[in-house]
Symmetry: C2
Subunit: 291 residues, 2 copies
């Protein structure tokens, strides 16, 4: 089993595991048999088929009973991208919606307007594949942590949160698509915009990002230089703030390189997630094979 | 103004801007005067003082009217860490709670049980400092994108989501603190655990992470090597999957270095956020000063 420990990454391992290695777990989940250690590890996505047995499980009922459903039998559900952390959408769930999601691993909600269960993607095919579910301290709010098959919003937007209140208040015209983005993705988006503007002639001194985008040699020398400086903070026992600063430099310059190659941060994180869902042995092999 | 463009990063610029440079914006926000271009850019956190003028603004009322409040006058509010993307907590808001948050920049909710307004942190002092607010497509759900002053949960947990439903179903004993974490932070957490286990003698071959943690020379040679390989995917025009894979290697090895130095990814992202909130000139100066 993975030298990196058992985390939700392990759910992915199952996608590769053959069904022969999948045993029905007593509590309704699945177990992954590690031949080398003759032990079973619990994983949940061995099969993407809805597992009806899960409904028979008493622990399952205990869990559903433990949710603090409101007077209408509902709780809040937030779908979040497991790699980027982007909040994709928010809906409501009832007992049946949560049970269906646990069983099918597709984010399922209860529509208050249509008074019916609905699985996100049932018409658009843009399902949200759920890898884990988290309850909050009050047990009346949950996170579906998963990977969307495509844009989540019915408008075609990546997420449903694309209207900035502060920009609306501050600007005469609201931005068309002002997606809620956290630091790394906001920086990625800015760099991507700079790349798209490369063909537009510019007055004055070009920005540092523009210079890097126009000069592969400069960019690569900076990526190597910043990685070296990051290492030196360890080798020369420099203080923590210096390490954070050099790592920020590494990230920024690497993001420019990714933008040039047309690679998204999300793709990189997906590689990491899949890699650390493999066994330690597999992981080392794959690293060797890569380079 | 910043060569990196106007994003929510600019809100931070204001924290450094002197009040002399802050002008009350006609719509109730603040403006940042860019001397070099004699233009004003809107920013919102010039002052952390509640801005009562904002209430006078008609655009502000238009916004509050546009929210699809439910039959109880409520909407869902999700607080998210601007740097890590972690969902901190979820509550409900009424018109007054949203107005207060926009004005005070402290995440404020409406307590359904106590039927009163409450600002997260008013007793614990662990406020959530809000940098932007996003409405969803239905206008009945919002994100408070901000930075927490400390742990958000009343239990002392970093976020309120620390109970994994799938782990509960699959294990005889639930984990004490099974925080909802996205890919990068899950990997960071695993590496940190490996670091904590270093003093524990281990049977068998050590994991790759353990080896790196125990050998600075090996670790630094890997960080430099992976950065070099990332660059070569650009220089030698290799395909995108190769770039994503090499960047994953850079990230993983750099995360081990950060763990050794006791630096969190969140600290690095904060550096990036603050850096790109500065003007292009300031940013270049600070880079020069750093290295």
């Amino acid at each position: 089993m993975s030298a990196m420990g058992l985390t939700y990454f392990n759910f992915f391992q199952s996608l590769k595991a053959s069904y022969r290695r999948c045993l029905l777990y007593p509590n309704g989940g699945y177990a992954y048999r590690d031949k080398s250690k003759s032990r079973c590890y619990s994983v949940y996505a061995c099969s993407k088929k809805p597992d009806q047995d899960v409904f028979l499980n008493s622990k399952f009922d205990t869990l559903l009973d433990s949710v603090k459903w409101d007077e209408k039998g509902l709780a809040v559900a937030i779908a979040q991208n497991v790699d980027t952390g982007a909040i994709l959408m928010q809906g409501f769930i009832n007992r049946e919606a949560l049970a269906t999601t646990i069983s099918s691993k597709k984010a399922t909600f209860y529509s208050r307007s249509r008074t019916t269960l609905w699985t996100k993607g049932e018409t658009s095919m843009n399902f949200i594949n759920v890898y884990d579910i988290f309850l909050d301290c009050d047990r009346d709010s949950i996170i579906y942590l998963g990977k969307p098959d495509g844009p989540t919003c019915h408008t075609g937007s990546e997420t449903c949160y694309y209207t900035s209140v502060l920009n609306f208040l501050n600007q005469s015209q609201a931005e068309e698509n002002d997606l809620a983005m956290t630091t790394l993705y906001s920086l990625e988006s800015t760099i991507t915009k700079r790349k798209e503007e490369l063909s537009v002639p510019q007055n004055g001194k070009p920005s540092w990002t523009r210079r890097l985008l126009l000069d592969d040699k400069l960019l690569c020398s900076k990526v190597r230089e910043e990685a070296d400086e990051l290492c030196r903070t360890l080798e020369e026992n420099e203080d923590k703030t210096r390490t954070a600063s050099e790592m920020a430099d590494v990230l920024y310059h690497a993001l420019v390189l990714l933008a040039l190659k047309g690679v998204k941060v999300e793709e990189v994180l997906q590689v990491l997630r899949l890699r650390f869902s493999q066994s330690g042995v597999e992981e080392k092999k794959s690293r060797k094979a890569q380079g």
